[in-house]
């Protein structure tokens, strides 16, 4: 009887411990995703060696209860970075410079070809496919984030790491 009780106690303790580990892992994961602003899949479109401008793309998540504005982007080795949005007007493909980009509360904004993008103007040297570019983004809530954007061809979706 004593043995059974001991076994039962051990099993119970183990289960509790396992549940605790799971809960911790889960919370940790949630904490990662629940940062006020999260950035995923940053990438730069590979371009010819003399390309005067490059396009950078990513997904920006706003996990907060308030809208967040992306105010600017910068990277060393470029004349300047601008926020742009491609669209259509009177049958033409247009590109309009944006003073800021609003990411509404609890929403994500996807920067992708043919839509929102960061225009990287006059690179000192066009980065090669497979290399990465550090891009710093500044938001209106005082947050600043640097992401490592992989240089690749369009149409190949992969996840790349985010550096905080």
């Amino acid at each position: 009887m004593k043995k059974i009780t001991l076994n039962l106690t051990l099993t119970l303790l183990f289960s509790l411990f396992a549940t605790q580990i799971n809960a911790t892992t889960h919370n940790h994961g949630e904490q990662q995703n629940m940062e006020a602003v999260g950035i995923q899949n940053p990438w730069v479109r590979s371009a010819p060696p003399n390309a005067p401008a490059l396009g950078a793309f990513m997904e920006i998540y706003n996990n907060s209860d308030k809208g967040v504005k992306l105010l600017s982007a910068s990277a060393s080795g470029y004349k300047r970075l601008e926020l742009h949005r491609s669209g259509r007007k009177n049958g033409m493909m247009t590109m309009v410079r944006q003073d800021f980009v609003l990411i509404p509360a609890h929403e994500k904004l996807v920067f992708k070809p043919g839509s929102w993008h960061i225009m990287m103007i006059k690179p000192e040297k066009v980065p090669k496919e497979g290399s990465s570019v550090a891009i710093t983004l500044v938001f209106d809530n005082g947050l600043s984030k640097t992401v490592n954007a992989m240089v690749r061809k369009a149409g190949m979706m992969k996840d790349y790491g985010v550096k905080h």
């Binding site: 049958g91 590109m95 309009v96 103007i121 369009a154």
Partner: protein, 225 residues
Amino acid sequence: MKKVLIAVVIVLVATALYFYNFDKNYRNLLGKQLKASYILHNPDKPLPKFSLLDHNRQLFDNERLKKGWSLLLFIYTHCPDVCPTELLDMSQLKNLMAKDKTAHMPTVVAITFDPLRDTPEVLKEYITHFDKDFIGVSGEQAQIDQLIKPFGAYYERVIYDKKGKPVTLKAGEKLPKGSLEKGYVINHTAWIYLINPKGEIFAGFPSPHKTSEMMQDIKLMMDSF
């Protein structure tokens, strides 16, 4: 004699009507099968004469479009989004056609909207990055502005004033001083055109371009020509 003349006229009119309807039916039938393009062919309106330069500074005129089928697009190299997408689509289309042994890839010709910045040398490095066989074309702005008209293509330049407000300049409008240094973007149509071996506009592909559908349409049009 009169009767013979009337009979001849009737036969001629009937023959003309027959061929007119045959051509119309053929176009309708072909048009209905196309997935990604529209037939624009009008043999009564040939391309105006033009004289431009390819990326090796060789003459690029109407005769160069009569050497076979071509896929023609208008681009500018300061474009970070739409133009590189189109050129990448063309290189993917070429790979797709190489795998399909029944298809034959037309020559890709990319003519710049922006010869002020896109010289033949600039185009050579830029265009051949996407594929060594692609041809970049530059030349006089006035000639390019004339050439794009029968395609239904158009563009406008956008510069930003001191306050950061966008100012739109129509094609042909003079750029203010310092625009080249400050930079400008170009809003433009983004169709890709199929040119037949007579050097005539045959069909147009609006964006976005799905390469597998483009290949099917091109095969269909080349086979029925």
